[in-house]
């Protein structure tokens, strides 16, 4: 009701203040040549060094393949990759689909499992962080279950859902939920006492406390939880799919192993890495957009 009276200050998330990125100011170089030299070394660090690292890796790979005929050379792998990525979205049969479909199938499972985990985990984290009794209630259970490999939960999923796909989603759900619960709870507990005193003096309703103080203050923590979860989820889906089968990048790797198509396995490893990196970067950008600059005197 109150929120409707006041559209100017709707959800704080709607108008985030992108915190300006502060770079440490470099001391002003007296002469231009020093500055130019610094720029050259910065470029070297940013571009040349990573390229050199990649080249070294390929070189080591090439050396290994000289005396090892079962292992494909970098060139063969590259040719295979070009072939594979020239048509990533073909679909000949349920078991023979392009790598694009496989990656998308895995991403879809991660999205569903992860989304359900966020839906349950973030509100649960809020309650655990806000109500001490609930925190004490669930604390030991979470500590006990958190270190368990999500794959150990796969049979329970198979038993309950009687199908491979929901069981894989279930594993993702389990592995994603812990970091989200824990980080949300920590974020809510670490809301500065000053802000809570403001809430008490202004006598804000619990809803206003939630939307105007707890949520914006805990948001960076929540997003850290989300980032950790999605990283783990992407790790787990590959393993879970190897066990459950069907379409998906994990099963695809296993299938190519059964076909003894080693170049495809290497390509899949790189593809999995690239997708994971992109997920991580996207969430880091999101976290940066929602981090408020700490206000000091």
């Amino acid at each position: 009701m109150n929120a409707m009276l006041q559209p100017e200050s709707a959800a704080p998330a709607a108008a985030p203040a992108p915190a300006p990125v502060r770079r440490p100011r470099r001391p002003l170089a007296a002469n231009a040549s020093t500055r130019a030299r610094q720029q050259v070394s910065a470029t070297a660090m940013k571009i040349v060094a990573p390229l050199l690292g990649a080249a070294l890796l390929v070189l080591v790979w090439q050396i290994i393949t000289i005396n090892n005929s079962s292992f494909p050379t970098p060139l063969v792998t590259l040719q295979e990759a070009v072939k594979l990525f020239s048509d990533p979205f073909y679909s000949k049969s349920p078991n023979d689909q392009g790598i694009g479909w496989n990656v998308l199938a895995s991403l879809q499972r991660v999205a569903v499992g992860f989304g359900l985990a966020a839906l349950v985990g973030i509100p649960l984290g809020f309650v655990i962080g806000r109500v001490q009794f609930v925190g004490s209630m669930f604390g030991p259970i979470i500590s006990l279950l958190k270190p368990v490999s999500p794959l150990a939960w796969l049979p329970i999923g198979l038993l309950v859902f009687k199908s491979a796909n929901p069981a894989a989603i279930w594993s993702i759900f389990i592995c994603s939920i812990w970091p989200m619960i824990i980080n949300t709870a920590v974020g809510v507990q670490r809301v500065p006492q000053d802000y809570m005193n403001v809430a008490r003096v202004l006598n804000l309703t619990e809803w206003k406390v939630l939307t105007k103080i707890l949520l914006p203050s805990a948001l960076p923590y929540i997003l850290t939880g989300v980032r950790l979860s999605i990283g783990t989820a992407w790790l787990v889906i590959v393993a879970a799919e190897m066990l459950t089968g069907g379409v998906g990048i994990g099963f695809w790797v296993w299938d190519e192993w059964n076909n003894l198509n080693v170049p495809h396995i290497i390509i899949a490893i790189v593809a999995i890495g690239v997708v994971g990196l992109m997920l991580e970067q996207a969430l880091m950008a999101l976290a940066r957009a929602f981090t408020y600059e700490q206000v000091s005197n």
């Binding site: 109150n2 009276l5 006041q6 100017e8 200050s9 704080p12 985030p16 203040a17 000053d194 802000y195 005193n197 403001v198 008490r200 003096v201 202004l202 006598n203 804000l204 309703t205 206003k208 105007k212 103080i213 914006p216 203050s217 408020y292 600059e293 700490q294 206000v295 005197n297």
Partner: protein, 268 residues
């Protein structure tokens, strides 16, 4: 100033149970504040002056004794006793306008229209001279401006009592003097009852009707009270020449550095 006991504090004791043991912060506090009076609490660090302020705010509950405001027991925090915090405590994700509006909406939201609420918020901003900073977030404005927004937020709720915890402590001397003058004007205009914690002797003499001086902790209590009978409106430059100003100042200094000399803090 007709209500002699607007705030009435009787026999208040405050004991904290910490991990390190029991800490007796305040003992036998008796104080009454008249309506429209300006009271400052002064004392060395750790003498429990902020604790006393938090008790009046209702942020703490006394171990023993009673606190009354307008004949009602202080049971918890309330917008009618609004607080200006030492570190301003503005919410960094809200603009200056929204920070003030949050309190205004809570106090007047049920009885007034949206336009009236907006009007109140803008008036509060204008009162502290920050109309231009309406849409800025706290990290975009200076420390003095933040503290003014904090004051505006407290005043906009039309509190019965304005509680201030070293509101100008973190500011430079010039900004502080400027805000003190503004505060004098605002208080004269709104006839607010004010209880303010300070460690600045000049600030206490300039602003107060009475200066409540506290003994050193632990188990601190009210040592002496100085009645400041200087005419209002007060002008800091004229007062510097005033003999009575010097006397009040000496009385407070005498108490703080002779009678309650703080061995560890004397250098500071």
């Amino acid at each position: 100033m007709d209500e002699p006991k607007f705030i009435d504090i009787e026999g208040v004791e405050m004991v904290f149970h910490t991990r390190k043991g029991v800490f007796h912060a305040l003992r036998e506090i008796d104080l009454t504040v008249r309506k429209g009076e300006f009271i400052t609490l002064i004392g060395h660090s750790g003498c429990g002056k902020s604790t006393l302020l938090n008790l009046i705010a209702g942020l703490l509950k006394p171990t023993d004794g009673v606190l009354l405001c307008a004949n009602r027991e202080i049971a918890g925090p309330s917008p009618e006793r609004s607080v200006v915090f030492q570190n301003h405590s503005l919410l960094p994700w809200l603009t200056c306008y929204e920070n003030i509006h949050l309190g205004v909406e809570r106090v007047f939201g049920k009885t007034e229209t949206r336009n009236q609420l907006r009007e109140r918020t803008l008036q509060a901003l204008a009162l502290v001279g920050l109309t231009a900073a309406e849409g800025k977030r706290p990290h975009e404005i200076s420390g003095g401006m933040k503290q003014r927004v904090g004051i505006a937020r407290a005043l906009a709720m039309e509190p019965k009592v304005l509680l201030m915890d070293e509101p100008f402590g973190a500011l430079d001397a010039l900004t502080r003097a400027h805000l003190q003058d503004e505060l004098l004007k605002i208080v004269a205009a709104t006839k607010s009852t004010v209880v303010m914690v300070t460690h600045d002797v000049d600030e206490a003499v300039l602003l107060s009707d009475r200066i409540v001086m506290m003994t050193n902790g632990p188990a601190a209590t009210i040592g002496e009270i100085v009645d400041v009978r200087l005419d209002r409106p007060r002008d800091r430059v004229a007062l510097a020449q005033d003999a009575r100003y010097g006397e009040y100042r000496t009385a407070v200094l005498e108490f703080l550095y002779r009678k309650q000399a703080h061995p560890a803090k004397e250098a500071a």
